[in-house]
Structure formats: structure tokens, C-alpha cells
């Protein structure tokens, strides 16, 4: 087994991988940018090395610096987490050249899956079901019109090198196709340096369901069940659950078998995820394969009882999968909330800053994978994901209620978070009835938020508490340099304020 692993990431996922390593008796090496000196992953690792300025392109994306740290520290393997270099085949190849094991698939598998059009050609050969459309980039607007005519409107234009919704256009009618194609091509060129765009039939109100797979380096590949990821905003997942409420044992087996076929066709190794679009008749179509550990992997861990990071490391170490497909059992239900530093009252705009107070939930059926702590300043340079709160229960209803209870206990002050959004989702009758598709969250947000002000006594309690705080603890720890607005006397020294109040009695 490896004696030392470098984690080329930050935030909650770096902490999660460090924890797995510690559980396996493996020493850990963290890397950090200038603004992450005080980050949690640096505190949790056995060793930590600075790799450059705040900007990711000068630190977490610098392959040379990371490999230099691996050499200096004697790390034998690198776990890339998700994001940053995790799906960069050049990095996987550079690791191999430097004699460091990359914990993930081979660069060849990554390259195949990284190009959506190439992946599609290969997968079609393997008999994987696809949304009707082209498997190559469009040569001309005329070709786009012909294909759209054949498969029928609405159609979706997509960037071959795409992701995160960039270079995507939904087209309802022939009249709009030409301009949408030009817009998608130029956006793809700007975002990915590649203007290749292909066309697909648009599935109306689809669900987004993905299948976890694991493959060892000895030809064994298994599926570990699906995750329902339909609750998205701007094509980014917000809440995920496993199992999907609409997938039964037979559909799960069929999806799993297709996912394994996809992985085999790509000669895939380590952990990966096959994403599917599912239409209203429960037909599923291959979308893409994510060649990394996913943000939402904990929901699969909870319902299978497996630790995916342990297994990733064992597979990278050359071990065989320690179980067979028929031994994989799904039990209970898990739901994950992605806690982001963003402001629900300001169109979910990012909200970095100092965390002045943090009350974290625990108790039965609650797992919290977090990269934040009280007193830490959330930097402005990176993704706003702070933590993941996962609820587990015997069934979906219990998992939901546990999560609602835990969200009630969760409190973060100093920055804004989207905790209130999850309270709203989990209370929503459509969510509870599992009426989900990728448009669900936009519809929920478009509805007027029924502001749960609670009972009429709450404002009274707030008023009394405000006065008592002013007497009992005049200076809030949230105040910087005593320049608070809206609270009296905070800029003054306490004894002066107190003396003045006493005199009033």
C-alpha cells in the first residue's frame, strides 16, 4: 500500500480524502495557495506545501509545482479530488511520466470521454442508447437544419468540449436555428477554445440520473446504483439523492449494465460516473461520463455501505475489487445538500467573507463533509461550495425529516449561505412527491417564497434578545474594528456604555 499520498485539491474534498488516508494509515501531503494557508485541508494533513498565488491557474492548476511537491515530499500517488486537474489527461500523463500514481482512470480513457463527440462515436459502437442527433460536430448551418428536420424540434445545440451549460442552446423552431448555432459556436470558442458544436433532440422536462461505476485494473467492473441529480440551477447540481425515487430494481439493473458497458468500452479504471438523461417514459439516454470522484459520492456510500475513496486508493494500488456485482446491496435512502456561500436574497450571488459563528448539526443519520470552520475567511477566488450535508434514513421520508432537522440546527453567520433554500425544497410538496425534473428548481424559485415568519411571538423574541445582547454581550464577535452600524455603543468601550445604561435606571 502507498505510504504517502498528495491531495491536489482544496476545500471539503481535500479534507474528505485526507480523512480516508488517515483511516488507511497513509500519510498525507496537502498543497495550498497563498490565500489558503489557514484552510482546513492544510490543518488536517500531515504535511503541507505552498504552491503559489491565489489564482487557481497559478496554484491548484500548476502541474509542475504539484509534481515538484510530490517529488520533494516523497508522495507515491496523487488524488486529484474533483474540479481543478481531476479530468485533465495531461496531468494524469505527467504523473505517470514522473513515476507517481494518478488515482483515477488512464489518460487515454479521460481523453476519450473528454470529447463528447468522440465518446459518442465509441459508445454507439458499444450499443449504448443515445438521444437522437449527430455524433460529430456540425459542418454547416444547412446540415444543422437537415438533422433538426429529421429528429424533430425542439433541439439542443451543445459544445463538443463543453460542460457547465456553456455553449448550449435550446432551439424551438427552424427560424431560430441559424443564429443559435452561431451563438453556441462563438461561446464554445470563447469558453473552451474549440467551436465544435453538435445537435441533439431536446428531451422535454428530463430527469438527470447518473450511475456510479468502479473498475479495477484487472478487468472487473461493477455498478453501485444510481443518483437522482435533477435538482439543478444553471446546470449545476444543488441537491442529490440515492436511490432515485423513480428507478426500480429492474431499471437500476438495466442502467447499471449500460454503465458497465460504457466503462468497458472506454477501458475505464477506478471510480467513474455515467450520466443519463431520462425522459417521462423512463427511457434513459447516455449523456456523458465523468472521469472522477463526484461531489455527490457520499449518497452512494451511505446506501451501499462502501467507502469510495478507500476503494479508489485500493484500486490505484493494484488491488482487485473486494466484492462482486451480486454482493452490492442498496439499503435505505440518502439525500445531499450542497451548502454554498451564496446569498438567497440576492439571486444566489456568491458571498465570501469571514465566518463569525458556526453551529454545526450532528445526530442520527447525519453526515457533514465540510471545508469550513468558525473564524475562517472564505476566499473570493474559488468555487463557493463550503460543505455537504447528507441525511440518511430507512426511507426517503425519514432521510428528508432528518435533513430538515439538521438544517434547522445548522447556522452560519458572517457570510450568506443557501441553507434556507434547502428548507424550502424539503418542505415542498412536489419534492416530497418526487415530481422532479431539471426544471424543478427554476419553477420553485419563480414562485413567491412563502416567507415562514413562524408565529407572531418570534419578532417579540427578536426584540427582547436584541436588547439583552446589548446589555450582556455588547460587542458582537462579528464586528470588525468596532465599526458596526445599527447597534448602539459598539464603537464605544463597554464600560462607558454600561455606565450610561446603569445611569438610566
Amino acid at each position: 500500500m502507498f505510504k504517502k499520498i498528495l491531495i491536489a485539491n482544496r476545500g471539503e474534498i481535500a479534507v474528505r480524502v485526507i480523512r480516508a488516508c488517515r483511516e488507511m494509515g497513509i500519510r498525507t501531503v496537502a498543497v495550498y495557495s497563498e490565500v489558503d494557508r489557514a484552510a482546513l485541508h492544510v490543518r488536517k494533513a500531515d504535511e503541507a506545501y505552498a504552491i503559489g498565488p491565489a489564482s487557481a491557474t497559478e496554484s491548484y492548476l500548476r502541474m509542475d509545482k504539484i509534481l515538484e511537491v510530490a517529488e520533494r515530499s516523497g508522495a507515491e500517488a496523487i488524488h486529484p479530488g474533483y474540479g481543478f486537474l481531476s479530468e485533465n489527461s495531461k496531468f494524469a500523463r505527467a504523473c505517470g511520466d514522473a513515476g507517481v500514481k494518478f488515482i483515477g482512470p488512464t489518460p487515454e480513457s479521460m481523453e476519450l470521454m473528454g470529447s463528447k463527440t468522440r465518446a459518442r462515436q465509441e459508445m454507439e459502437k458499444a450499443g449504448v442508447p443515445f438521444v437522437p442527433g449527430t455524433s460529430r460536430g456540425l459542418a454547416s448551418a444547412e446540415e444543422a437544419e437537415q438533422v433538426a428536420q429529421r429528429i424533430g424540434y425542439p433541439v439542443m445545440l451543445k459544445a463538443a468540449a463543453g460542460g457547465g451549460g456553456k455553449g448550449m442552446r435550446l432551439v424551438h423552431a427552424r427560424a431560430d436555428l441559424r443564429s443559435a448555432l452561431e451563438a453556441a459556436q462563438s461561446e464554445a470558442q470563447r469558453s473552451f477554445g474549440d467551436s465544435e458544436v453538435y445537435i441533439e433532440k431536446a428531451i422535454v422536462n428530463p430527469r438527470h440520473i447518473e450511475m456510479q461505476v468502479l473498475a479495477d485494473e484487472h478487468g472487473n467492473t461493477v455498478w453501485l446504483g444510481e443518483r437522482e441529480c435533477s435538482i439543478q440551477r444553471r446546470h449545476q447540481k444543488v441537491l442529490e439523492e440515492a436511490p432515485s425515487p423513480i428507478v426500480d430494481a429492474d431499471m437500476r439493473r438495466r442502467m447499471g449494465e449500460v454503465a458497465v458497458r460504457v466503462a468497458r468500452a472506454a477501458r475505464y479504471t477506478n471510480a467513474g460516473t455515467v450520466e443519463f438523461l431520462v425522459d417521462q417514459e423512463k427511457n434513459f439516454y447516455f449523456l456523458e461520463m465523468n472521469t472522477r470522484l463526484q461531489v455527490e459520492h457520499p449518497v452512494t456510500e451511505l446506501i451501499t455501505g462502501l467507502d469510495l475513496v478507500h476503494l479508489q486508493i485500493r484500486i490505484a494500488n493494484g488491488e482487485k475489487l473486494p466484492f462482486a456485482q451480486q454482493e452490492v446491496k442498496i439499503r435505505g435512502h440518502a439525500i445531499e445538500c450542497r451548502i454554498y456561500a451564496e446569498d438567497p436574497d440576492n439571486n444566489y450571488f456568491p458571498s465570501p467573507g469571514k465566518i463569525t459563528l458556526l453551529l454545526a448539526p450532528s445526530g442520527p443519520g447525519i453526515r457533514r463533509d465540510s471545508g469550513m470552520y468558525e473564524g475562517w475567511t472564505v476566499p473570493i477566488e474559488y468555487d463557493p461550495l463550503l460543505a455537504k450535508l447528507i441525511g440518511y434514513g430507512t426511507d426517503r421520508e425519514q432521510a428528508t425529516m432528518r435533513l430538515r432537522r439538521a438544517l434547522y440546527e445548522y447556522f452560519v453567520a458572517g457570510i450568506k449561505t443557501n441553507i434556507s433554500l434547502f428548507q424550502r425544497i424539503l418542505r415542498d410538496p412536489d419534492f416530497q412527491a418526487a415530481k422532479l425534473d431539471t426544471g424543478y428548481l427554476d419553477r420553485l424559485l419563480a414562485r413567491e417564497s412563502k416567507h415562514a415568519t413562524g408565529d407572531s411571538t418570534s419578532p417579540v423574541i427578536a426584540a427582547i434578545a436584541a436588547g439583552l445582547f446589548a446589555v450582556l454581550q455588547p460587542a458582537s464577535s462579528g464586528v470588525k474594528n468596532g465599526t458596526a452600524v445599527g447597534a448602539p455603543g459598539m464603537a464605544d468601550s463597554n464600560w462607558k456604555q454600561k455606565g450610561r445604561s446603569e445611569a438610566l435606571r
Binding site: 456561500a341 446569498d343 440576492n346 450571488f349 456568491p350 458571498s351 465570501p352 467573507g353 463569525t356 459563528l357 453551529l359 473570493i380 477566488e381 474559488y382 468555487d383 463557493p384 438544517l407 434547522y408 447556522f411 453567520a413 458572517g414 457570510i415 450568506k416 441553507i419 428548507q423 415568519t453 413562524g454 418570534s458 419578532p459 417579540v460 423574541i461 427578536a462 426584540a463 427582547i464 434578545a465 436584541a466 436588547g467 439583552l468 445582547f469 446589548a470 446589555v471 450582556l472 454581550q473 458582537s476 464577535s477 462579528g478 464586528v479 470588525k480 465599526t483 458596526a484 452600524v485 445599527g486 447597534a487 448602539p488 455603543g489 459598539m490 450610561r500 445604561s501 438610566l504 435606571r505
Partner: protein, 165 residues
């Protein structure tokens, strides 16, 4: 102690008196006996007639919030005898208004020039944080007196970006 407390825009008069085993609170004339303990900085446990409440206080650069359970209340607290609070009349639209940065970030663009007229809600400065850009909008209709933000500069939460009069 006497305070003028505004909760979500609604004014109250609060009188607090320390008595045996707690506080006598008179809120808008209604009297309540309250047992209050600050259990850790900014977290207070209140017992009122056997009912238990956990209150969290959040002081941001611009606002004071009281959280009762998971409900947030915007609170302003004034000591009616304090000179400062009498000067601080901020509730109306008269006089100069400061445009504050709601979060730390980097100024990417300034959208208007000094001395130009702006409508309420018109974007004045664009601040970027976590790869997203946010337009900071004018709090009122008026004339931009001064622009303190410069493109490319980093700003902290609560920092004055511009003044509109």
C-alpha cells in the same frame, strides 16, 4: 435600560430591568419575565414562561440580525438617550446615501461617471467574487457625488463604493 428596537421595520419600545433570577422586560407596555443566558458569544438561550428559545446574533458590515430558530429578523437598536443614535437618522431618502459593497470582491467596472444622474436601482459598480459578477445598484434616484471604487481594486464587505445624493 430603555431601547428603541426596530424589528423588520416595525418599531418597539423595550425597557429592561434586572431582577432576581432574570429580567423584567416591558415591550410596548407588555410585561414579561425573561431568563437569559449568553451560552457562547452571539448565542443566547431565553426562557420565557417555560418556553425555550435559542437566538443567534449576526452583526455584518451593514446590518444586525437576530435569528429566532431559523428565521432571520433585521434589527436596529437605539438608545434614545444617545447622541449618536439621534444623529444617525438613516431611515429616509433625504441626504447622501452610501453605496456599500455587500461582499468582499474585486471591482471589475465602474458603470457611471461622477456627477451623473442615476435612477433608483440603476447599476453603478460591478463587483466580482467567486467568478460571478454582481451589479451594485443605486439605493436612490439622485446624482452620483463621488465614486470611491476603482476598477481592479479589491474591496471589503461594507466598504463605501460611491455616494449618491
Amino acid at each position: 435600560m430603555v431601547y428603541d428596537v426596530t424589528v423588520d421595520g416595525k418599531p418597539h419600545r423595550l425597557e429592561l430591568e434586572k431582577v432576581d433570577g432574570g429580567w423584567k422586560c416591558r415591550l410596548d407596555g407588555q410585561e414579561l419575565r425573561v431568563d437569559a443566558v449568553v451560552t457562547r458569544p452571539d448565542v443566547m438561550s431565553l426562557l420565557i414562561d417555560g418556553q425555550s428559545y435559542e437566538i443567534k446574533r449576526e452583526q455584518t458590515a451593514t446590518d444586525l440580525h437576530m435569528w429566532v430558530g431559523s428565521t432571520r429578523f433585521g434589527v436596529e437598536l437605539r438608545d434614545p438617550r444617545s447622541l449618536r443614535s439621534r444623529r444617525d437618522g438613516t431611515g429616509d431618502d433625504k441626504g447622501p446615501k452610501k453605496l456599500l459593497a455587500p461582499m468582499p470582491g474585486k471591482v471589475v467596472r465602474v458603470l457611471v461617471a461622477e456627477k451623473s444622474e442615476v435612477e433608483a436601482g440603476q447599476g453603478i459598480v460591478v463587483v466580482e467574487a467567486m467568478k460571478m459578477q454582481n451589479e451594485i445598484k443605486s439605493p436612490k434616484k439622485g446624482v452620483v457625488q463621488k465614486i470611491l471604487a476603482a476598477a481592479g481594486a479589491n474591496v471589503n464587505a461594507g466598504e463605501v463604493l460611491a455616494i449618491v445624493e
